[in-house]
């Protein structure tokens, strides 16, 4: 079945990073904990098991191969992170917001939980981890240590050898001494200083009685003598101009690292303000700083979903980069035809090429080429539009500054040079339009080659412009190509909003507010206009392949229209508040994502048929802003007819909360197998006689399956093989007893029966198709919103509720001729 939220959420909230022996880097990422190799930057393992956001991870102070993790789902789990094996689960009961461990306190961990009965009040409690035999244990023995603490991991720190704990909140600092059971409170006066001197983070010196606190005004205070209530002292270090986001002490405590919005890592020597080193331009604001346990490496976690590993001598070593979260994805989701990577806004002024297969950034292309200054209130210029030519040899980008009156537009054209394997700037056009550019597209005709390449930009200054390549052909001088404006078109002084080329490149559709105009791309004559008042055109696209005679448009007032280009007439229309309209480049299918009262729905249709092929209601709660089809390397085998449209390309969405979602027919485990598990196992296979023997055996088995012609069984076999692999390559000391493993092992080698009869499967398919058709029927009737919602409810519970009588009714409904509606 489709897992609608089968998503790979790339989140970077609530993470703590700890290195173990500077070989592995652990990072909490969404619901998972990721294990990276420090030397290769590779994701070695993805530890998943929590049902909600992982909020804290700590190494077991008594066993460095074990890891504690806490999550919002109220559990603390103990892992063997080398092999990804869950050892124990402790259920605490309430949301866990942060996790701390102490070397001194055995079987005791500290967590931050919300105080019962009060909102936004949190308390630090210690949890006694019982030594039970089973895997699932209760961790109910809670004792409150501190009240009124901050919710963030950074607001609490444990002092030298765990003798005291420090917590900061707003302008208050409290220190609790475990042995003496004394609580000291200090507060900063808000009156004296003009700036915002609230605490932002706290850290304790590893060997001395010293507390370092970071403040919102950029100061760092070093507190001493805090066991005395009156005679405490503090000194101030000040370099940051904005909030100090995190602090970290080196192992010996001689160096203090601090970072903030400036994206500069500052190293203070001996707690004096005169001796400091900087590591500037780390790319984006620093969120967390973490030292490895041997002090050789330090890593910083950035707001843009990146981990930077830094040497102890403050030299940049390497970085691990996921999908960058930019403030606003203005460029849309674009697929690079060359690498099949997803291209969108990255760092400010950069374009990121994100490989979906490897969940890695391929490279970041600097488009704006200006020094980015992290300062509030500055008018930054950023990338707003991106377009690739069909082969990916040309890239067009538009950048504009945030100013409303004078956007400082720049159109840049980049050429992919094979030698350097990157894009080089070819042409820069200053202010190509007088106002913001709304859309841009290349005419990409494969057959005609690069010479027919045309770029069209539509602007809010009521014109669209056609840019062509101009070749400077002198045989003695080396050939150079540049771009220049060839044609300027307008229509009644309306703002141009969208532009789109037909598949063969002969027609250009440009929408001007309420009207779609169609132009001949050879002579630039206006051929015809389409209009569906009221409401401006929001999206337009041409049909592809067999449906190339259709033009699809979506309007502001919730209409989806399909015009026939041969008859110049409206073919059909439907009432649908379309937010995203995205054609699949490899098939006729077009995806429309609608936004109706707090939920997004997905509709897949062919332009020649008004009935949708596939409907997915309630796709997600967030508003989907962008969608893109990414071509698959090889067509996927999809058994269900319903999902055939996903065969050639995969659909990705970006929501307004900056989450990247995809639709998949596989379950989570299946998808994870190739990426995470195989990597480590395959590489570390030691060649033993046993493994050779087993390899041979497995090979034979596979062959037999093929001979028998039982693809289903074959599938099963493959699924089992990782289990066997894991069994064989798990270190012996963590394996359960052999008697326990025996059955699993034997089971994995057995050929299981088909669990579904063919009849059943067929029945199911029929049901589903029926359902789809019903949906489409309803959809045609330009349904009102109310109807829509009621239907949605029905759809949600359909598979379980449909009784025989209802089914009959549905069949009847299906037989009723609705063609008269289409005629309307």
């Amino acid at each position: 079945m489709v897992a609608p939220g089968a998503l790979r959420v790339v989140r970077c909230g609530g993470s703590a990073v700890r290195g173990a022996r500077a070989v592995y880097l652990l990072c909490a990422s969404g619901d998972f904990v990721k294990v990276y190799s420090v030397s290769t930057e590779e994701t070695l393992r993805l530890i998943g098991g929590h049902a909600d956001l992982v909020t804290g991870i700590q190494l077991n102070p008594h066993n460095h191969m074990q890891l504690y993790s806490s999550s919002l789902d109220g559990t603390i789990k103990l892992w063997d992170f080398m092999d990804g094996i869950l050892i124990k689960t402790f259920t605490v009961g309430s949301q866990l917001l942060a996790l701390y461990t102490l070397a001194a306190a055995e079987d005791l961990v500290f967590v931050v939980i919300p105080k019962k009965g009060e909102r936004d009040t949190f308390q630090l409690v210690s949890v006694q981890l019982t030594k039970g035999a089973g895997q699932n244990l209760e961790g109910k023995e809670l004792s409150v240590v501190l009240d009124g603490v901050g919710a963030s991991v950074k607001h609490i720190a444990f002092g030298r050898e765990g003798t005291y704990v420090v917590s900061v909140k707003d302008v208050n600092l409290q220190v609790y001494f475990f042995k003496q059971r004394v609580l000291n409170r200090f507060s900063l006066s808000t009156v004296k200083t003009k700036g915002d001197n609230r605490f932002s983070c706290v850290m304790c010196h590893p060997t001395e009685d010293c507390i370092a606190t970071g403040h919102a005004d950029g100061k760092i205070r070093l507190w001493r003598n805090f066991h005395l209530r009156k005679e405490y002292t503090y000194s101030t270090l000040h370099w940051h101009h904005d909030t100090v986001m995190d602090l970290a002490f080196s192992m010996e405590g001689t160096r203090l690292l601090s970072g903030g919005v400036e994206s500069v890592l500052v190293q203070w020597h001996n707690e004096s303000s005169c001796q400091k080193d900087f590591l500037p331009r780390l790319g984006s604001p620093i969120e967390y700083i973490s030292m490895s346990s041997d002090g050789a490496l330090c890593c910083t976690l950035h707001t843009d979903n990146r981990i930077t590993i830094i040497n102890s001598n403050l030299r940049f070593s390497r970085s691990i980069q996921g999908l960058i979260r930019s403030r606003d994805v203005k460029t849309g989701l674009v697929v690079d035809p060359r690498t099949k990577a997803l291209v969108l806004n990255g760092e400010p002024g950069h374009l990121q090429f994100y490989s979906l297969q490897s969940d890695q950034q391929l490279f970041s292309l600097d488009i704006v080429q200006r020094q980015y200054i992290h300062q509030a209130g500055l008018k930054q210029s950023d990338l707003v539009k991106v377009a690739f030519s069909a082969q990916g040899t040309w890239l067009a980008t538009v950048e504009e500054s945030e100013e409303v009156t004078d956007p400082e537009l720049q159109l840049k054209l980049w050429f992919y040079s094979e030698e350097t394997q990157s894009f080089t700037l070819n042409t820069r056009v200053n202010s190509p339009h007088d106002n913001h550019i709304t859309d841009m597209c290349f005419r990409d005709v494969n057959e005609l080659g690069d010479h027919s390449l045309i770029l069209v930009t539509a602007g809010r200054d009521c014109v669209f412009k056609v840019w062509v390549m101009v070749e400077d052909t002198d045989p003695e001088v080396h050939q150079s190509v540049s771009w220049s404006c060839d044609f300027v078109g307008s229509y009644h002084n309306y703002q141009a909003t969208n532009c789109c080329f037909s598949e063969d490149g002969s027609l250009l559709a440009v929408s001007f507010e309420e009207t779609v105009t169609v132009w001949d791309s050879r002579t630039w004559d206006l051929k015809c206009t389409f209009c569906h008042p009221p409401g401006n055109i929001r999206n337009i696209c041409f049909g592809r392949l067999t449906c190339s005679k259709y033009l699809i448009g979506a309007t502001d007032y919730g209409f989806l229209c399909c015009w026939n280009l041969l008859t110049c007439a409206l073919e059909w229309n439907a009432h649908l508040n379309v937010v995203v309209l995205q054609p699949d480049p490899l098939s006729e299918h077009i995806v429309a994502v609608s936004w109706l009262s707090k939920e997004s729905s997905l509709f897949v249709f062919k332009p020649n048929m008004p009935r949708p092929i596939y409907i997915q209601r309630n796709l997600c709660k967030e508003k989907i802003l962008l969608a893109a089809f990414v071509p698959r390397d090889e067509p996927e085998v999809i058994s269900s007819e319903k999902y055939l449209w996903l065969r050639k390309s995969q659909l990705f969405f970006l929501t307004d909360t900056q989450e990247l979602l995809t639709l998949s027919t596989k379950s989570l485990e299946e998808r994870l197998t190739p990426s995470s598990k195989q990597l480590a196992v395959e590489e570390s296979v030691p060649v033993t006689p046993f493994s050779l023997l087993l390899g041979k055996h497995r090979h034979q088995q596979a062959q037999e399956d093929v001979n028998l012609g039982k693809p289903v069984v074959h599938n099963k076999q493959e699924q089992a093989s990782p289990a066997v692999k894991e069994l064989l390559h798990t270190p012996a000391h963590v394996l359960p007893s052999a008697s326990f493993l025996c059955t699993i092992f034997i089971n994995s080698l057995l050929i299981s029966k088909e669990n579904k009869s063919a009849e059943e499967v067929a029945d199911e398919v029929e049901m589903e198709s029926e359902k789809a058709e019903d949906d489409s029927d309803e959809e045609d009737v330009t349904a009102m919103e109310q109807e829509d919602t009621s239907h949605m409810e029905l759809l949600g519970e359909m598979p379980c509720k449909v009784s025989k009588s209802q089914e009959k009714e549905l069949r009847k409904l299906r037989k009723v001729d609705y063609s008269w509606i289409a005629a309307l």
Partner: protein, 520 residues
């Protein structure tokens, strides 16, 4: 990890001609030497042997100039009437010239009196030259005939009268001793073989032929007449290869450079154009004071000599290239150390340590990196940068504006600096590429220094200048808009006339918009 990105200076593409290898080569001549002759100069011919003297035919004299001499080193003046087409023999010993009275004279370059006089033409002889076997002379005259003469005997070998108009130009083949061509005012070029009784080939040029030229290989023929220069393939039986129309008056003379890679043509429109013989495109052109009648290039392209209709001889010598040699000598050892080990290929077991490349930052970039806005602005307000590369100054101002520190950088300056700033702004604010930035700068300056206006006469004067400059620009823009309006009406009427192509709006910018507006 990102490094500091320097300020992007918006380079403006330079309009006008591009600097190519050719422009550099042909520009490498000194300022010309002008020598006054007695009449229009109809022929210049270089001696093929060193010291490359050249013979200049003007009026009734043939003058021979040395390479660097301003005065003629020798003169042949024993012509009764105008002399034409003094040409050297291949060995530089003999010289032949035609004359208005119909005789062809043969001179020894060391003597004075003619060695031979060939009589036979009834009218003026405008063409005389040696065949490449050195013992025969060919000539062409206004009596439509062309003759071949024997030097030892002084007699006529053969006479052709196939042209139907004056024969004015010709050329002998260097490959075959019997072949020569003549061009005539009857629009044809004829190729003769002295062994046959009649012409071998006739090429129709289409205009009175003023000059012909054979390539050293003998395969290609160039003819000039009217405004056209045409290149013909002789071996393909006189097929037209290319027709060049780059002059706007009659082309009078042709010449090849020493390597045969460039073709030069001189015209009455006062220009000499240089073509590449591979692409036949103009790669360079010279302009002269008056109409050009004759043109010659010395071996190795050392000297260009051009003769004008008003009798002025224009001589250009190539600049010596000694400077480069001396500087190369100095640098040589340093260069050797520089490339030391460059070609070393690392072996497999070698551990490569790459040397970090030191980036050189400009002064203003260094200051901007350190967020020293005021000093960065000072750095770009220094006269050399401000005068020669105003785009750098403007780029830094823009960067400061982007960082929000422009106001503080502009503030707190003394009279001299404000004067400097205002001078810059007043001069550059009207340049379209700087206007958006400099308008904000001017705004800020007036804002900041408003309270102190009237305290300094110099600054006040600069403010007035700025005001004037802006006022003038506004007037100018208004006028331009008026012109644009006039053009709009013109274009509008133009579109109406074309009844069929209502929606035809393939044109640039302005008209496109107007036309579409017209349609609806």
């Amino acid at each position: 990890m990102a490094t500091y990105k320097p300020v992007v200076v918006q380079a403006c593409p330079k309009l006008g001609e591009k600097i190519t290898q050719d422009t550099l080569y042909w520009r490498g001549y000194k300022t010309p030497v002008q020598i006054k002759e007695f009449g229009a100069i109809n022929k210049i011919d270089f001696s093929p042997v060193p010291p490359y003297n050249y013979a200049v035919t003007a009026s009734s004299r043939v003058h021979i100039y040395g390479r660097y001499s301003q005065e003629p080193i020798k003169a042949f003046s024993r012509f009764r009437d105008a002399a034409y087409c003094a040409t050297y023999r291949d060995d530089g010993c003999l010289l032949t010239a035609g004359s208005e009275d119909g005789s062809v004279c043969l001179f020894d370059t060391s003597g004075k009196a003619p060695l031979r006089q060939f009589e036979g033409h009834t009218k003026a002889v405008h063409l005389a030259g040696f065949l490449s076997d050195k013992y025969r002379i060919f000539s062409g005259g206004d009596d439509y005939s062309s003759n071949v003469w024997d030097i030892p005997s002084g007699g006529k070998i053969i006479s052709y009268s196939e042209h139907t108009d004056y024969v004015r130009c010709g050329c002998a083949s260097k490959v075959n001793a019997d072949v020569f061509i003549t061009g005539s005012y009857d629009h044809t070029v004829k190729l003769f073989d002295a062994r046959t009784k009649s012409s071998v080939m006739t090429i129709e040029h289409g205009h009175p032929v003023e000059s012909v030229l054979l390539f050293p290989s003998g395969g290609l023929l160039v003819s000039a007449g009217g405004r056209y220069v045409k290149v013909w393939d002789v071996l393909k039986g006189g097929q037209l290869l290319v027709s060049l129309k780059n002059h706007h008056k009659t082309v009078t003379c042709l010449c090849l450079n020493s390597s045969g890679q460039r073709l030069l043509s001189g015209s009455l429109d006062r220009h000499v154009k240089i073509y590449s013989t591979t692409s036949y495109k103009v790669v360079h052109s010279f302009s002269y004071a008056t109409s050009i009648l004759s043109l010659a290039l010395s071996p190795e392209d050392e000297t260009i000599v051009v003769g004008m209709t008003n009798g002025v001889l224009n001589v250009k010598h190539r600049k010596p290239e000694e400077k480069n040699e001396s500087s190369q000598k100095k640098r040589q050892p340093a260069y050797r150390t520089y490339v030391k080990g460059r070609t070393y290929m690392p072996k497999q077991e070698d551990f490569c340590v790459s040397k970090p490349v030191k980036r050189v930052l400009r002064k203003y970039d260094k200051l901007l990196r350190g967020f020293q806005s005021s000093k960065a602005l000072d750095a770009v307000l220094e006269p050399p940068i401000m005068l020669h590369t105003p785009e750098v100054t403007v780029a830094v101002m823009q960067e400061l504006y982007r960082r929000g520190t422009l106001r503080s950088a502009l503030a707190g300056r003394d009279e001299k600096q404000v004067n400097l700033l205002l001078t810059f702004v007043a001069r550059r604010v009207i340049e379209p590429r700087f206007t958006p930035v400099l308008v904000t700068v001017a705004d800020m300056i007036t804002d900041i220094y408003q309270p102190v206006v009237g305290q300094s006469a110099i600054v006040d004067r600069q403010f007035l200048k700025l005001q004037q400059a802006i006022g003038k620009e506004i007037d100018y823009q208004e006028e331009l808009l008026e012109v644009l309006g006039m053009m709009d009406t013109l274009f509008a009427t133009f579109t109406k006339k074309r009844d069929k192509c209502l929606e035809e709006n393939k044109s640039n910018g302005v008209t496109g918009i107007i036309e579409t507006n017209m349609n609806y």
